[in-house]
């Protein structure tokens, strides 16, 4: 009786782990899918950007130095001069108001962990708090 029980426990553990990783990879996929759909046209599939027109996401210091603003940049766009890895950019990025906090979290986590980046991931809660700070932009 002991052995089957142990086996059962192991099997349950495995199953839990599997669903967890499954869930994790699904979220990862959503981030990647949305990135390809909404961001890759400009920032390119490999996050390299476009010369001095569009800043890179691969190895961008901005992702860490402006971590607190990233959710709002996606939701409301970005205009005016910004400096990424020492270079000036001033092309303007459109807003993606249709994306909700969960989708933005997944996209940001894809960006933070792809193209050779290994930055800290976001929680939905963190993204929600960031979005609260720029909510007024929606009521313009």
């Amino acid at each position: 009786m002991q052995i089957p029980n142990k086996l059962l426990a192991q099997a349950a553990g495995m199953a839990a782990l599997l669903t967890l990783t499954q869930c994790f990879t699904d979220k990862q996929n959503e981030g990647e899918r949305f990135y390809t759909q909404y961001c890759a046209n400009c920032h390119m599939d490999d996050g390299s950007g476009l010369r001095n027109l569009i800043p890179p996401l691969a190895g961008a210091d901005y992702l860490e130095s402006h971590r607190d603003e990233l959710a709002c940049i996606i939701k409301h766009g970005q205009t005016g001069n910004i400096v990424v890895n020492g270079k000036n950019y001033n092309q303007g990025m459109p807003a993606f108001e249709q994306l909700d906090k969960g989708e933005i979290t997944n996209i940001l986590n894809y960006v933070q962990t792809s193209f050779g980046n290994s930055n800290e991931r976001f929680t939905i809660r963190e993204v929600e708090l960031q979005l609260n700070k720029c909510r007024h932009l929606l009521e313009r």
Partner: protein, 232 residues
């Protein structure tokens, strides 16, 4: 020692003969026939030596005049005797344009040292994309203006010429950014005939474009040679 030098010179003669043969057969009128002529064509009858001859007249891009990022006028004469690749875009385009530009950069880099190949990008939003805006855009792309013209002009002339290149370009408030346009790269030969249309957002098609361009450049060189020979 002697024998081998004799057979060597024999080999050289053979090579020269072969080269002559090859040149002889590649100088014909359809040296570049592998690339099609696109667009409507007309068959025109004419008289030659008392006989009716049918000539095919291929679709040809009409004369044009636009202004580039250096405020220089770019006309069909500017591009005379050149092969060019053209597209339609706008600087504030939220969708495919940056991808097109990154692919056009590949063409630019591949033919950097080939003066007979130029690039011509038309803005379809001339109200916003003034000369100054285009200059800033080109500078940020770090490209030289004698190789890659970014042009603006009368809105109607831009939309009309897009039709001639068989490219969709239209204003449409429903579309992101306010315009519909295709991501096509159009390959045009020295006589302003359209010889290829490629999807400028698809790296594989742009690979093909980069492979196709030399065929047009070569055929021109051969024709030049032939002309020189004819006039001698």
């Amino acid at each position: 020692m002697n024998r081998s030098s004799i057979s060597n010179s024999g080999f050289v003669i053979l090579l020269v003969l072969l080269a002559g043969l090859l040149q002889g057969c590649s100088g014909g009128p359809d040296a570049n026939s592998e690339l099609p002529y696109l667009g409507e064509r007309q068959v025109v009858q004419r008289e030659s030596g008392g006989q009716q001859v049918a000539d095919t007249v291929y679709h040809r891009i009409p004369d044009f005049a636009f202004i580039n990022q250096d405020s220089q006028v770019v006309t069909s004469l500017t591009l005379q005797d050149k092969v060019y690749v053209t597209d339609f875009f706008f600087t504030t385009c939220p969708t495919i344009c940056p991808k097109m530009k990154s692919q056009m950069l590949r063409v630019y880099e591949a033919f950097k040292d080939e003066p007979q190949l130029v690039l011509l990008s038309h803005t379809i939003d001339p109200a916003h994309d003034t000369v100054a805006v285009l200059r800033d855009y080109a500078e940020r792309l770090q490209v030289s203006s004698d190789k890659w013209h970014f042009v603006t002009g009368e809105k109607d002339s831009i939309y009309d010429i897009a039709l001639q290149y068989m490219v969709t370009a239209q204003e449409d408030q429903e579309e992101p950014g306010g315009f519909v346009h295709s991501g096509a790269f159009v390959l045009v030969d020295q006589n302003r005939h359209v010889r290829g249309i490629y999807d400028g957002t698809d790296p594989a098609q742009v690979d093909k474009l980069i492979r196709d361009i030399p065929a047009l450049l070569d055929s021109n060189k051969k024709k030049k040679k032939k002309q020189d020979a004819d006039t001698q």
